[in-house]
């Protein structure tokens, strides 16, 4: 019963996000980049659903465009991290020996870094752009994917069908590809949903520290951080992007829960 509610809510919210993104390709209430210095900091109205920002730009249009940019950044990061993390985690968990020690030492070293700091330093080196954010956050979250994949590989590695496959003469690579990888996917898929959330949150944190996606391209993160000085005088500026983040992440989390119920036997009674 619970799984169904999570599924419905999850699909609802994610569906809303996807439709907003699709619409943003075709139509936006206003040009998100056009400034109007005579109507700065206008409160929400029929003309401007979420009001205007400090440059008179329409917050609603920027939130819609921001949805597309933030989601694409998160998607790209998740794909890169999952692919690289699975590769390394698989090798570490299956081959063990010095490869495992090498991969785990490097990943522990990266994990010892506070994620946001590592990203900040990497962005400062590569320069601020959407791609640098994707690379920086990718590296920052790589260790957590490696950890999950290695743990899953270790438990699968002990299963008898792996021994059967090796006994029938399959090579290590073939066994990893044919038998271990498909069984590692469920936990990785569940991790991917929470990873999407973490990346959106991290991008907004980086914007807050001044190194997020550069202006004037809107992301929820940089809209939220540029709203900080006007907390008292124009509070709606921070409400709109905040709500978008919460709605999207709630939807993604719910989907993650539903996925976990279906894939993870423990949850089903």
């Amino acid at each position: 019963m619970r799984a169904r509610i999570h599924l419905v809510l999850g699909f609802g919210l994610v569906g809303l996000l996807v439709s907003v993104i699709l619409v943003s390709f075709v139509w936006l209430p206003y040009d998100p980049l056009a400034i109007d210095l005579d109507h700065t900091l206008a409160p929400p109205s029929l003309m401007h659903w979420f009001g205007t920002d400090e440059f008179g730009r329409d917050v609603a249009s920027r939130a819609m465009l921001g949805a597309r940019i933030s989601s694409f950044i998160a998607l790209q990061t998740v794909v890169i991290t999952i692919v690289a993390g699975t590769l390394f985690g698989l090798i570490a968990g299956f081959l063990r020996g010095w490869t495992e020690r090498l991969v785990m030492t490097v990943s522990d070293a990266l994990l010892a870094f506070p994620g946001i700091l590592l990203a900040l330093a990497l962005i400062a080196v590569i320069g601020q752009s959407r791609h640098s954010i994707v690379i920086a956050l990718g590296i920052a979250y790589l260790p957590s994917v490696i950890r999950v994949v290695r743990a899953a590989t270790l438990s699968i590695r002990e299963r008898e069908f792996i021994e059967a496959s090796r006994a029938s003469g399959d090579g290590a690579l073939y066994t990893m590809w044919r038998h271990v990888l498909p069984n590692v996917l469920p936990p990785v898929l569940i991790l991917a949903t929470s990873l999407f959330g973490w990346v959106v949150l991290s991008e907004s944190a980086l914007s807050f520290l001044g190194v997020g996606v550069p202006a004037p391209i809107p992301t929820w993160g940089n809209m939220l951080s540029s709203a900080r000085p006007y907390m008292a005088s124009a509070s709606w500026l921070s409400i709109a992007p905040g709500l978008c983040i919460v709605a999207t992440l709630l939807g993604i989390n719910m989907l993650g829960d539903a996925l976990r119920d279906r894939l993870d036997p423990r949850e089903a009674n």
Binding site: R159, E160, F161, E163, A164, S165, R166, A167, S168, G169, D170, H179, P182, N183, N269
Partner: protein
């Protein structure tokens, strides 16, 4: 006649969500000190019936209707507090899985004391004295030390005995034992059961034994009740029911007990030898510490073993005797410290690459756990065809034909598209066997292939293995701890104890006159054999 200790009338148990009836109108009476067995295959509702008594049904099911009178009181109407006072003091329970029956985070002493402190309010010294006394009676070495140690430091058999101690210390009027020894090997199984019967007889405690093993029923219970898919099909004195079963299901149950089979044709000495192991020694390195590694432990200590074409050799021993390790060594999956393993005359350690890949095809392994040995994400057709991948000149069409043929032979025609989780334990084990014989191996090592299955299905799988071996003539090394199965399937038997072969010979000869006492103990501990004598008497 005094009022019976336990009287269940019209008990019906229903699943919350679907409303399906899991147990239909069960009637059961149990006198004081009487011993009743509830027999049925998995899914017959036998566990649920007993869990309902103290009101400990798992989540998702509930008692729909029916009365449970215990010691003169109707339990179904009792408040939580009153019911709790009866649990432990009035009704004791022992469970199946020794590994999780004791709380790993608490010391044995504290877990033993819990019940007594709650129900009897005795002083700590008094409780400790009783605990030590009880532990000594269940034959635990160093009872004082045992109080401070933790469950993970004991073997399965010892843990079940500790659990027995903790339950019987409260001298309950009724002991419910839910498959207490299924997870143990035959030796410790016999010890635990005999202890349970002795102790309950002393305190006059009634015993409700739940099992799917008719052998235990014959040896240890007065009356028996047979359940099939939630319905009581038969009930009566054990001897009468076993000798003259009224209901066809009971008859089938008794029929599937393994019995010696006269049709084994003696295999002549000169048939060629498929597998020959000479003076094999296998060592396990202790945990490799950072600074020093503990001394290596010898698991196999100088074993000679031969298996001829068309012969089934049973390798028998208690758990920890090294029989699985030897099985793996026979297939080259376990390196030897010294000694040789020859397959059709070639030493597998020094084989050339091509000869080795041929060896991989000609020697196959059947695993014990049907749920872990089949790749969950593949279809049955792919699993069975996996070994054929290495046969060079075989086209895809030939492979598909071979898979279909083999699946037909194991009684699963057209199952190629199914997935493992859609199949029962018995069917999966058939798939495992199909996978093994797909590449027409010369040697099949079966490592406890049936011990995880129910009795009736066990019987069918063994029959299948014997039929396939007769038709294809491969040599088979059959590893098991269950002597009844050995008698049904093996030509020769090799008994292994602590890594050494202590007895070997034709099955009938060894069973008739076992030379070594360890073998004698094994034979005595096997319940199924006892019933055969009973039935044939």
């Amino acid at each position: 006649m005094t009022e019976p200790l336990l009287e269940i009338r019209g008990l019906r148990i229903v699943a919350d969500a679907s409303g399906t009836v899991l147990l239909r109108e069960l009637d059961l009476t149990l006198g004081r000190g009487e011993r009743l067995a509830i027999v049925g295959e998995s899914g017959s509702g036998k566990t649920m019936a007993t869990r309902a008594i103290p009101g400990l049904l798992a989540a998702g099911v509930h008692r729909d209707v029916g009365s449970i009178r215990f010691d003169g009181r109707e339990l179904t109407g009792l408040s939580g507090g009153d019911l709790r006072r009866i649990r432990g003091a009035g009704i004791g329970m022992v469970f199946q899985e020794p590994m999780t029956s004791l709380n790993p985070a608490l010391s044995i002493g504290r877990q033993l004391a819990e019940g007594l402190k709650l129900h009897r309010g005795l002083s700590d010294e008094e409780i400790e004295r009783r605990s030590i006394d009880m532990l000594r009676r269940v034959r635990i070495a160093d009872p004082e030390g045992c109080l401070k140690r933790f469950p993970h430091e004991f073997s399965g058999g010892m843990r079940q005995r500790i659990m027995l101690a903790s339950v019987l210390m409260l001298e309950p009027k009724l002991l419910i034992a839910d498959e207490p020894t299924t997870a143990l090997d035959t030796l410790s199984q016999r010890e635990v059961l005999e202890l349970m019967v002795a102790l309950t007889r002393e305190t006059g405690t009634a015993l409700l034994l739940i099992t799917h093993d008719l052998g235990l029923v014959a040896q240890y219970t007065d009356r028996v009740l047979v359940l099939e898919k939630g319905v009581m099909v038969e009930e009566g004195r054990t001897a009468e029911v076993l000798a003259r079963p009224q209901h066809p299901y009971t008859a089938r149950l008794i029929g599937s007990l393994p019995r010696p089979d006269g049709t084994r044709s003696a295999v002549s000495k000169d048939d060629n030898v498929v597998l020959s192991i000479k003076a094999a020694v296998i060592e396990y390195q202790g945990a490799r510490g950072l600074l020093r590694s503990s001394l290596a432990k010898r698991v196999i200590d100088g074993v000679d073993l031969m298996v001829r074409e068309g012969e089934i050799v049973a390798l028998v021993g208690a758990s920890g005797s090294g029989k699985t390790t030897l099985g793996r060594a026979a297939l080259g999956l376990q390196p030897l410290a010294s000694g040789t393993v020859r397959f059709e005359g070639d030493d597998i350690a020094t084989m050339s690459r091509s000869r080795r890949s041929a060896f991989r095809r000609d020697a196959q392994l059947v695993f014990q756990d049907p749920f872990s040995s089949l790749a969950p994400h593949l279809r049955i057709g792919e699993i069975v065809g996996a070994a054929l991948r290495h046969i060079p000149k075989m086209t895809a069409a030939e492979r598909r034909a071979r898979v279909a043929e083999v699946l037909g032979e194991v009684g699963l025609p057209g199952y190629e598209a199914r997935r493992p989780h859609q199949m029962s334990g018995g069917q999966r084990q058939r798939v495992a066997i199909a996978r093994a014989i797909a590449s027409e191996p010369r040697l099949v090592v079966a490592d406890e292939p049936v011990s995880a299955l129910d009795l009736t299905i066990q019987h069918q799988v063994i029959e299948l293995l014997r039929r396939l071996q007769r038709e294809r003539g491969f040599a088979c090394l059959f590893i098991t701890h269950d002597l009844a199965v050995v008698e049904q399937v093996a030509d020769r038997v090799v008994v292994l104890e602590q890594g050494r072969v202590i007895e070997e010979g034709q099955t009938a000869a060894v069973f008739a006159a076992p030379r070594r006492d360890y073998t004698r103990e094994l034979l005595a501990a096997s319940p199924a054999l006892a019933i055969n004598e009973l039935a044939s008497a």
